[in-house]
């Protein structure tokens, strides 16, 4: 048996003692991930910008407001219907900046390559990154490459970091949701996760579903113009699905969220795949969607602006913010009853029951 870890310097080690080593659940975007951040990283790095826990951090720099964000991509397989790790790497960071109200400008790239990765694959990934950057209007200005031995690295791991500028009066963040806010989503949910599952060993199925990976900065510019200061929160839901993001925001703003299940835009094939595996689409990953919390007064205008963008055609109102049950997300079911939408522990698992 190994020695128990020494937590004497940490501020709140209790939940971490349950798992002396990292498990896959820590990467799932659910409770375990949240605890790792809250109980290990935050106490270690201690500063106000980080404590805000937004998708990007906004820091003052030379009289401007700089948004800065980083994300790492470890997807398997590297190439999937609708895109590759390259697309995710660029779009993911662009989106993290955009949902903070920033105009994304420059990206860095760090690549960790596994010995044996075909150069052709790497070329394809680089090409995808270049195209995605061009579409998003950002430049990849610096990077780094390392190689690890065969057996590590899953082919390729990519990290991107990005910077952008935020205008002075923008105040958007996960703590700003208010009772009465309307919650919008920019399109169909669960597409990315379904596309990945369709090519995963043991779960494969034939489908036309493709990953929704996309840069959302132009869509977001449009909706910001329509909503202005009525936009309180934006988030791009990734792993853990819209449910995880909504739970995080509900907790951060200390408000309740009520959802209408029937209003969720879900492609029929995504629904079918989720039914087959016993999964709930609201917990399945996305890579090209934005959730918007907007004051009631501007909701209709923002919805129209979103729908006018090619990436937002299926935008819909999915719920609203209430002052009851703060920190908890509740959904009205298709039969007119209610259920709590709780944060998952790690990843959702396919089930037989």
């Amino acid at each position: 048996m190994s020695e128990p870890p020494d937590f004497s310097n940490w501020s709140c080690p209790i939940p971490l003692r349950d798992y002396p080593a990292i498990v896959m659940g820590h990467g799932g975007g659910g409770k375990l991930s949240a605890e790792l951040v809250e109980h290990l990283f935050l106490p270690a790095f201690r500063n106000d910008a980080l404590a805000n826990l937004g998708d990007a951090s906004i820091v003052p720099l030379a009289g401007q407001r700089l948004a800065i964000s980083t994300d790492s991509f470890v997807v398997r397989p590297l190439f999937f219907p609708g895109g590759s790790i390259g697309d995710l790497a660029v779009n993911g960071t662009v989106n993290d900046l955009a949902v903070s109200g920033a105009r994304p400008l420059y990206l860095t790239v760090g690549m960790i390559l596994e010995e044996g990765l075909p150069i052709a694959s790497l070329a394809r990934i680089a090409n995808d990154m270049a195209k995605a950057a061009q579409t998003a209007g950002v430049q990849i200005v610096t990077g780094d490459t390392k190689v690890v031995e065969k057996g590590h690295g899953d082919g390729c791991y990519v990290n991107t970091a990005g910077v952008g500028l935020v205008s002075v009066d923008t105040d958007i963040g996960p703590t700003r949701a208010k009772p009465g806010d309307i919650i919008l989503v920019s399109g169909t949910i669960g597409d990315h996760g379904t596309a990945i599952m369709s090519v995963r060993e043991g779960l494969e199925f034939q489908t036309t579903i493709r990953s929704d990976t996309a840069a959302l900065n132009y869509l977001i510019e449009r909706l910001l113009k329509a909503g202005g200061s009525a936009i309180h929160v934006m988030r791009d839901p990734t792993r853990g699905g819209v449910a995880s993001s909504l739970n995080e925001i509900s907790l951060a703003s200390n408000v309740g969220v009520v959802l209408e299940e029937k209003a969720f835009p879900v492609r029929s094939e995504v629904r079918a795949a989720c039914e087959l595996l016993g999964l709930d689409p609201i917990f399945v990953a996305n890579e090209g969607k934005v959730l918007v919390f907007v004051a009631d007064s501007r909701a209709a205008a923002v919805l129209e602006a979103m729908r006018s963008d090619p990436l937002g055609r299926d935008s819909a109102i999915i719920g609203r913010v209430v002052d009851q049950h703060p920190g908890m997300v509740v959904a009205h079911t298709s039969i007119g009853a209610s259920r709590v939408v709780a944060m998952q522990i790690g990843e959702q698992l396919p089930r037989i029951c």
């Binding site: 375990l32 029937k262 595996l277 009851q324 007119g336 009853a337 209610s338 259920r339 698992l349 396919p350």
Partner: protein
Amino acid sequence: MKYLDEFRNGEIAQSLAREIRRVTTRPWKIMEVCGGQTHSIIRNGIDQLLPADIEMVHGPGCPVCVTPLEIIDQALTIAAQPGVIFCSFGDMLRVPGSEKDLFRIRGEGGDVRIVYSPLDAVQIARQNPDKQVVFFGVGFETTAPANAMAVHVARQHGLKNFSALISHVLVPPAIAAIMQSPRNSIQAFLAAGHVCHCLGFHQYPALTERFRIPIVITGFEPLDILEGIRRSVLQLEAGEARVDNAYERIVTFEGNLPAQKLLEQVFEIVDRAWRGIGVIPASGWQLRPEYREFDAEHRFQVSGIHTVESPLCHSGEVLQGILKPNQCPAFGKECTPRKPLGATMVSSEGACAAYYNYGRFISADQLTHV
């Protein structure tokens, strides 16, 4: 999706609920046997539509929950061995053994893989001739034909590196055991529709006669469950006790004959220990001697493992419907999905997990105010 969406129609659900309210004149306690039904009830909030007189009690129909602790520990021991590829349905990965779960084993270097179908495990065995591939074959009668076919196909391929750890349980003996329990107060059963696809329901009339309770074969979608409840209440109000098939589009009296034939060939009935309940005679299946070479328990010599169950866990009482999850002292405190004490908190069909995940630690009033 055809034959799914229609049975989730909100308006019809409301009218079925109104019908149930109309015909209910007294309190009744009905048990839904199957974990999938429990999940559907809690997830869709079906119980919120029922009159206060109807109490739904959640049964032990979750094979993940009732798989004996010894077998979980056997699975963990096998999965931890080098050169083994351990294949399992997703639900089993978080079920706690005496100390660990399959996820931990994976984290420690074990090759643990999720499969959708038992045939996927056979395929993995064919693709990895230098490894021992073990399939964790759990389930009720619903899954037994699939698991039997995997073993059968492995034999036909002459595979030497495939084996299955079998832990099958049967529903009718469980119903009998529950009815015989001195603390039992169940008055009617919703039988598990998909379980019945396999053996049919010719074993059920004996139960209704012996115990004088209605048994309604019920499906899983909201309308199916509401209809099952409605038919149960009608019988209860009229003092009747017979078997009624409310899932006619799927279930027949005889069941699936080709499946029964292969099951007869591959499995034999044994006494089984149900986690949290105890041994129920003739309530399980194991591989027949002719198939013993595919029995992982023999191949890996893992019998006789010492198990340790948490003393705080009341899974057994929950599974028998004696306790509601939120009545267990450990519910939401020492025991959460994050750190489950028992299987009922781990499995997505487990009543405790359903209650926790769908928020039954707050009152229904707080949920339905908006």
